[in-house]
């Protein structure tokens, strides 16, 4: 039988056309660099401000950048809307809790954990790495089944996965504390680990986008039939993205746990799913730049609405907006942006310092 015929054209024909090594990486590197500079600039201003509440608010922004970039890796490249990724964030957060809480507290609060885990206590950065690995492996296992589905069936299946994870974490009392809060997670208040995680996630997303799997997946998103006829194994390309994005979501979950010091299953359910998906949609689902800018803009808006909900004192009177307005405002903004710019604020473009190559880069990423 004829085997796969992938023999290249004659060497003399190829040699004149051979692109310089890493030319694609060089052509597209400005996007993650500029996004990282944006993150660093925000972090620098935050440190200079010296405000602790502002520091905490910006830490929340960087955690969301990690989460939304994680979502982008799968949703943006595959075009399959996933409602289940916050399940991997939940897994990452609890893994970080299991690995970092004081063993004495663990033995009383989570007695069902295996002995080795009860006695383990790692630094936060090691726990974050292992949490990402744990969530990535979970995504690989779930993805083996889910990635065979397409369209609305895949989206509903991811939602079912989220419900399953939430149900397990809400009921496995000896291991997760069920619906009770798991406390005692070391809180990391310095901003730099969160900056590092956001930048790492941006570079992981960029690395995937310029990889073979990333190109094949975007082709399958646009024309699945033609992609299959081009030799693309679509479920496999989706599985690669699902696994990588699951790991990034797990990393985000670990950071979230270390930023607030307490986890409950409901923290990682519909509310967080809605907010992170909104940020991705508003920024632009098909763009890494859109994912990051969507988080920054919507986080700024949410923070402003929170302050307004808390009340603003003018003279002797305090004016406050009704509670819950931020969710309503987010919904309204999402609807308006989807109506006016269905591809989001950034669309499918990427920010880059080279205007001439912007169109080409959008096709590469």
């Amino acid at each position: 039988m004829t085997t796969a015929t992938v023999s290249p054209l004659p060497a003399d024909l190829l040699s004149s056309r051979k692109p310089a090594p890493f030319s694609l990486a060089r052509r597209t590197i400005m996007t993650p660099v500029l996004l990282s500079l944006l993150i660093l600039a925000i972090a620098g201003l935050t440190v200079l401000s010296g405000s602790k509440p502002f520091n905490q608010a910006v830490i929340d922004v960087f955690v969301r950048v990690t989460l939304v970039v994680g979502l982008y890796i799968f949703i943006g490249n595959s075009g399959v809307l996933s409602f289940g990724h916050i399940g991997f964030t939940c897994m990452g957060a609890y893994a970080a809790a299991w690995l970092t809480i004081n063993p004495i507290m663990k033995k009383s609060a989570l007695p069902g954990l295996p002995q080795w885990l009860l006695e383990t206590r790692l630094p936060y950065w090691q726990s974050a790495f292992l949490a990402a690995l744990f969530a990535g492996v979970a995504a690989l296992v779930f993805g083996r089944v889910l990635m065979r589905l397409s369209g609305i069936a895949a989206s509903i299946a991811t939602f079912a996965m989220l419900a399953m994870i939430n149900t397990i974490y809400s009921n496995w009392e000896d291991v997760t504390g069920a619906t009770s809060s798991v406390v005692g997670i070391p809180i990391v208040r310095t901003i730099w680990p969160y900056v590092g995680a956001a930048i790492i996630s941006i570079f992981i997303a960029w690395g995937h986008a310029i990889s073979r799997a990333g190109l094949a997946l975007r082709a399958a998103r646009d024309e699945p039939t033609a992609a299959a006829a081009s030799g693309v194994d679509i479920p496999r390309a989706r599985l690669v993205a699902f696994t990588i994005s699951g790991a990034v979501m797990g990393l985000g979950g670990a950071l979230m746990a270390h930023s607030i010091g307490v986890v409950t299953p409901d923290t990682f359910y519909l509310g967080l799913t809605f907010i992170t998906l909104s940020m991705l949609v508003v920024g632009g689902m098909g763009s890494l730049s859109g994912a990051v800018i969507g988080v920054v803009l919507l986080s700024a808006l949410i923070q402003a609405l929170r302050w307004l909900e808390a009340g603003v004192a003018i003279g002797s009177t305090t004016f406050g907006l009704p509670k819950g307005l931020q969710e309503i405002a987010l919904g309204v903004i999402m609807i308006v942006i989807l109506a006016l710019r269905p591809a989001g604020l950034i669309g499918n473009r990427e920010i880059t310092s080279f205007r001439r190559s912007s169109r080409k880069q959008s096709s590469q990423q």
Binding site: V6, R212, L215, A219, E223, K360
Partner: protein
């Protein structure tokens, strides 16, 4: 010599027979034609040959080995390429990236894929289009890019589904020259599915005529031109739309 064969292939959709015991061979280096009125089952046969449609009966064989149960991407990796009616390019990607997708789909590194894609664009004569976004191309250029995408990785067979649709006679002439080069210079076995019967009669070594899912005639272009059955098949359908076909058959 190897061969891609459909052997007694039948396909039924909810009781309706789209193909009835069709047998067809494609040989490397030769151009075969598949013609027939609208609804004859031509595209269904291409779908069967490329793994997009499972036959209800019969089998597809490559060099004597069955391709049954292979998925479309696995069929492509065995060297059987195809194009689609309407091009179906990846519209948001640059032209060169469209070709590169096939390269990476076949297991090449991005670097080798982009090198072969550039060489392929050169070979077809559309290097200048490499950086254009595929969705902005005129119709005829789309067809040539689709052919270039299918030729990546040196397939042994290429199935062209109505590549000349909507082309002027001058453009169809250029396309003919390209198809000849694909068979002669690359040694590819070509199956040409086309409504432009004049183009098929002028290009192909062997022609199969389908009507209502069954083979009603096959043979050399001269034999097909002289066939009463073929003329009757076209006259029995939409006479207005098939007038050029009848002229080609005169």
């Amino acid at each position: 010599m190897g061969q891609l064969s459909a052997k007694n292939v039948s396909v039924a959709f909810a009781g309706l027979k789209a193909l009835s015991s069709v047998t067809l061979d494609i040989t490397p280096g030769h151009i075969s034609g598949l013609i027939g009125p609208n609804g004859a089952g031509k595209t269904t046969l291409v779908n069967v040959l490329t793994g997009f449609q499972m036959p209800t009966e019969g089998a597809v064989e490559l060099d004597g080995h069955s391709l049954d149960r292979l998925k479309p991407h696995q069929v492509r990796r065995r060297g059987i390429a195809r194009t689609f009616q309407g091009g179906r390019l990846f519209r948001d990607l640059a032209v060169i990236d469209n070709l590169e997708v096939t390269g990476v789909g076949l297991g090449m590194s991005r670097r080798s894929a982009v090198a072969e894609a550039a060489a392929m664009l050169d070979w077809i004569g559309i290097s200048a289009l490499g950086d254009r976004i595929a969705g902005t191309l005129p119709y005829t250029d789309e067809r040539r890019v689709a052919i270039g995408r299918a030729l990546m990785g040196q397939p042994a067979y290429i199935l062209l589904d109505e590549p000349a649709a909507g082309m002027s006679s001058h453009e169809a002439g250029d396309l003919s020259a390209l198809i000849r080069r694909i068979a002669r210079e690359r040694g590819c076995g070509v199956l040409l599915i086309e409504h432009n019967v004049g183009l098929v009669l002028g290009l192909c070594d062997h022609i199969v005529v389908l009507d209502s899912g069954a083979v009603i005639e096959e043979g050399t272009p001269a034999a097909i031109r002289d066939s009463e059955k073929v003329r009757h098949a076209y006259m029995g359908t939409a006479v207005d739309t098939d007038l050029p076909v009848l002229e080609a058959l005169q």
